[in-house]
Each structure stands twice: as C-alpha cells, then as structure tokens.
C-alpha cells in the first residue's frame, strides 16, 4: 500500500530523504504547476516557480505542523513564490508589458482550446480575485484554507471568489453569444 502524504512528510522531516520527497513532488507537481500557470499565464515562468516552491518546501518542511493538508501548505508556499516573482516583475515596466501580452502572443498557438479560453477568462479578473478563484477551483481548497494560504480574511476570500466567479460566468456567457 502506498504511503500517505503524512507518512512521507514525517519521513522527510526525520531523515531528509530525497526519494520520499520525490514521491511527494510526483503526487503534487501537477496541482502546483497548474495553479501557477493559471496565475502567471506564462508556462515557463510557472514551472520555474513550481521548482522553487518544492525547493522551499523541502527547506522548511520542519515547519509543516500537519494541522492542514500538505496540499494546502504547498499551495500557500507556491502563492508566496508567485507574489515574490510578481514584485520583481513589477519593478520594470518593460518586463510587465511583456507579461501582459503573454496570453495572446504566447499561449494562443498552443492548440489547447479550453485552456486558452480559461486563461483569457482568468485574465479579466483582478489579481486577488484570480488567486482566490484558482485556489478554490483548481486546488480544490475550501474558503477557509484559501484564506489561510492567501493570508486574507475569510469574508474577503468569499467575496473575491463570488465576484470572480460572476465575472467568469459573464465572460463565458458572452463568448457563447458571440459564437
């Protein structure tokens, strides 16, 4: 029987076992990468941030208390890495412009119809709304888990999710009318 996340985490904390941590990476990499791809709208950057997320998680795994799920803990680290990267990006207007045009210029030719639609829809949300929606719908977190990961009050996260969801619904409704 495969070891649970809790068992693997305990093994990594006790022995710094690379193989056990590798198994945790294998289990959660898709979730973390998908979350970062939806937030960054740039696949290469998202993968770099996902790598940094796992390295950071390995370094500070001793601080994982097991009160929430390992998945939620990882997503909160990923969000912190995303914020750090976003701050760096905002330091130069030229780089920011490059990322603003990233969805249309880089993602469109990938031949992944629904993914591109989803990314375009998410691009219409404010940053906080997008983060809250991605945490709840992509990572499957509850509102309270998302509030903890985003370091926002629960009420704020609920309104971000509701507002973001309404905007996405309007976006898809409009897209269907156009088609």
């Amino acid at each position: 029987m495969a070891a649970t996340d809790a068992e693997l985490t305990a093994l990594v904390i006790a022995t710094r076992n690379d193989a056990a941590f590798g198994e945790l990476i294998r289990r959660h990499q898709a979730l973390v990468r998908a979350m970062l791809q939806r937030m960054c709208r740039n696949h290469a950057l998202a993968d770099d941030l996902a790598q940094d997320t796992f390295i950071r998680a390995f370094e500070k795994i001793g601080s994982f208390k097991g009160t929430g799920t390992f998945k939620s803990w990882l997503c909160s680290i990923a969000y912190t890495e995303f914020l750090k990267s976003a701050r760096k990006r905002k330091s130069t207007e030229r780089v920011l412009e490059k990322f603003k045009t990233g969805v249309d210029d880089v993602e469109a030719p990938r031949d992944m119809g629904n993914v591109v639609d989803l990314d375009r829809a998410l691009a219409t949300l404010k940053e906080d709304e997008r983060a809250a929606v991605v945490m709840c719908y992509s990572c499957g977190m509850s509102h309270s888990e998302a509030a903890e990961a985003l370091k926002m009050p629960l009420g704020t996260v609920k309104s971000h999710v509701n507002r973001g969801r309404a905007k996405l619904q309007a976006f898809f409704a409009e897209a269907e009318v156009t088609v």
Binding site: R33, R38, G62, Y137
Partner: protein, 113 residues
C-alpha cells in the same frame, strides 16, 4: 466551499482539463527529476559566496598568525611560564579570525532546516 451548481461543475472541469497534461507520468517524472537534482546539488551562488568568505577569512587569519609565530619567545623555564604570549592582541585576533573562518567553512554550508 464553492456553490456546486452547473457553472461550478463546468469551471472545475475546465481547471481539471488544464491540469490533465501535467499529470502524465512522463511529465511528472521529468519535473520530479529536475527538482530532486536541485535538492542534491547545493546552490552555486551560495557556494561561491561562502567559499569567498572562507578564503578571505583564512587569508586574514594567516597574515595574523605569521606575526604571532615570529614574536614567539624561546621558553627558558618551561613552557607554562611562557604561555602568556598567547594573550597578546595579535594572537587573540588570529584565533578569533581562524574561528570565524572555521565556522564559515564548516557550519554555514550545511543546509539550515
């Protein structure tokens, strides 16, 4: 929790579709290997900084130690009666620098948990 109506189901399905290609075993293995390699190889920048600091410390300590040994008195009444030379400012500075260099070289490169 989310509302779980028809639109919610559609939204969750869209996110799941976007994540599906990343769940392929080959994709997972490639990504995992990259991260595990980074875990086992220490950061090059960190090694360069620590190596540079250690080398500088050793060089300074070496120049101080030269002064200590050149002014060493010849023991006349046994070693213990001349042990006071170890308390000279040069000697104390040399030991302090050697200790700092040793800490940089041995303790800091270890991964801090």
């Amino acid at each position: 929790m989310t509302m779980d109506d028809a639109f919610d189901q559609r939204l969750k399905a869209a996110f799941a579709d976007a994540q599906a290609p990343l769940e392929a075993p080959s994709e997972a293995d490639i990504f995992t290997d990259k991260v595990v390699k980074r875990l086992s190889s220490p950061n090059r920048k960190r090694v360069l900084i620590l190596g540079g600091a250690g080398s500088t410390g050793s060089a300074v300590a070496g120049t101080q130690l030269e002064g200590v040994f050149s002014s060493m008195p010849v023991p006349a009444d046994g070693l213990l009666s001349n042990v006071a030379f170890l308390m000279s400012p040069e000697a104390m500075a040399a030991f302090a620098l050697a200790l700092a260099a040793g800490m940089v070289a041995v303790i800091l490169p270890r991964r801090i948990v």
